[in-house]
């Protein structure tokens, strides 16, 4: 039987000469941003109909796991992104702020749906007209409810901003959100090309 070497054995055999092709080097900053964007865990803050679409995005058909986001952490201490999915009522606003405060830096907020972004069709006494009155928002995803494609577009836009490093810097300057608006992708069969990021 011919000798089958494992990967580790190959590495050991190469020794110091193998540093050219056995190791990757990068700036620590880039590696951290890369890891943060590929493995950001959302805090479950599903409120209304948008929560159902968010769960559908996490389900098998529009898999969020390929973006590293299928674990919806119940505890905000373990979460990076808060996806505010649904209409925020007057009674819920302090709870929203409390959950946001409990998240550890770095943290980002996606406002999913028109009710979270601007109050939506409910322009009345009961709904906070835009969740950005309570927490700083980084990406707004329109739709009522946004199709899973739109939500993935918003998430990927956010991921690209994190990887480019733009978001962390902006947050340090003013403490405000990034204020990025994405266009809605209607539910349909044809794939829609989107352009992310600046690189």
């Amino acid at each position: 039987m011919s000798e089958q070497k494992g990967i580790v054995q190959h590495l050991l055999d190469d020794g110091m000469n193998g540093l050219q092709h056995n190791a990757i080097t990068a700036r620590l900053e880039d590696l951290v941003k890369w890891a943060r964007s590929r493995s950001s865990w959302p805090a479950s803050f599903g409120l209304a109909c948008c929560a159902i679409e968010m769960m559908a995005t996490g389900a098998a058909h529009y898999d969020l796991s390929r973006f590293g986001m299928e674990v919806f952490r119940a505890s905000p201490r373990q979460a990076d992104i808060m996806i505010v999915a649904g209409r925020v009522s007057q009674k819920m606003a302090p709870v929203l702020r409390q959950v946001y405060d409990q998240m550890m830096e770095p943290k980002w907020v996606i406002s999913m749906g028109v009710c979270a972004s601007s109050g939506g069709m409910f322009n009345n006494y009961a709904i906070v007209q835009g969740v950005d009155q309570v927490v700083p928002v980084d990406v707004y995803a329109p739709g009522c409810p946004p199709t899973p494609e739109t939500l993935i577009h918003a998430i990927e836009t956010l991921h690209q901003l994190i990887e480019d490093g733009q978001l962390m810097r902006r947050r340090q300057e003013t403490g405000a959100g990034a204020n990025v608006h994405v266009t809605e992708i209607p539910a349909g069969a044809q794939p829609v090309p989107v352009i992310l990021g600046t690189r």
Binding site: Q90, K91, G119, N123, N124, Y125, A126, Q129, T157, N179, V180, H181, V182, T183, V194, I195, L196
Partner: protein, 173 residues
């Protein structure tokens, strides 16, 4: 079993269970007074109307000249109760007039415990107090909210939409 009676006197309204009866698009509606309300509920409970499907209220401030059977004095508020009899497969509606100066009415909790949350909602939205309710607190609005949102003189607080002419200010992707 009290059937609807059409009186010989054509001007008096039809009655059922001793209370004026009217017909609304084929549905029977009873109009008891505030004092006779609980007595009527008790009668109906014995007459197989075991389920209180819905208890709500209407603020008729802007529509005081609505149609009511003769002998029923219109007030600002109306408490509307929809009862359901599973045995007879029948629905019955009760409308009680509640004045603005004294917005209280007896609670149906002891007869229909399912009305607890519905009466709390009516209290929260209209300010009608239900006497002898086990826990009359706000249910939908925050605890410290002032005002009763579904009253007609309570502002819906609609923010007028402001359009910005310069759309290039927002960064869109």
């Amino acid at each position: 079993m009290s059937e609807a009676t059409t009186p010989e006197d054509a001007t008096a309204p039809a009655e059922r269970y001793g209370v004026p009866l009217s017909d609304s698009r084929g549905q029977q509606v009873l109009h008891p007074t505030r004092d006779g309300y609980i007595r009527l509920l008790r009668t109906l409970l014995d007459e197989t109307f075991t389920m209180c499907a819905d208890l709500t209220a209407v603020d008729y401030l802007l529509h005081m000249n609505r149609e009511l059977p003769a002998g029923v004095v219109p007030e600002r508020f109306e408490v509307v109760v929809n009862l359901l009899s599973l045995q007879r497969r029948e629905r019955l509606r009760i409308r009680v007039q509640v004045p603005e100066t004294d917005p209280t009415i007896a609670s149906a909790f002891d007869l229909y415990p399912g009305s607890e949350a519905m009466e709390r909602e009516v209290y929260d939205m209209f300010g009608i107090t239900f006497t002898d309710h086990p826990d009359l607190t706000r249910i939908l609005m925050p605890e410290d909210w002032e005002g009763h949102p579904l009253r007609k003189d309570d502002d819906p607080s609609r923010i007028p939409v402001q359009f910005s002419a310069d759309f290039t200010k927002r960064g869109s992707r």
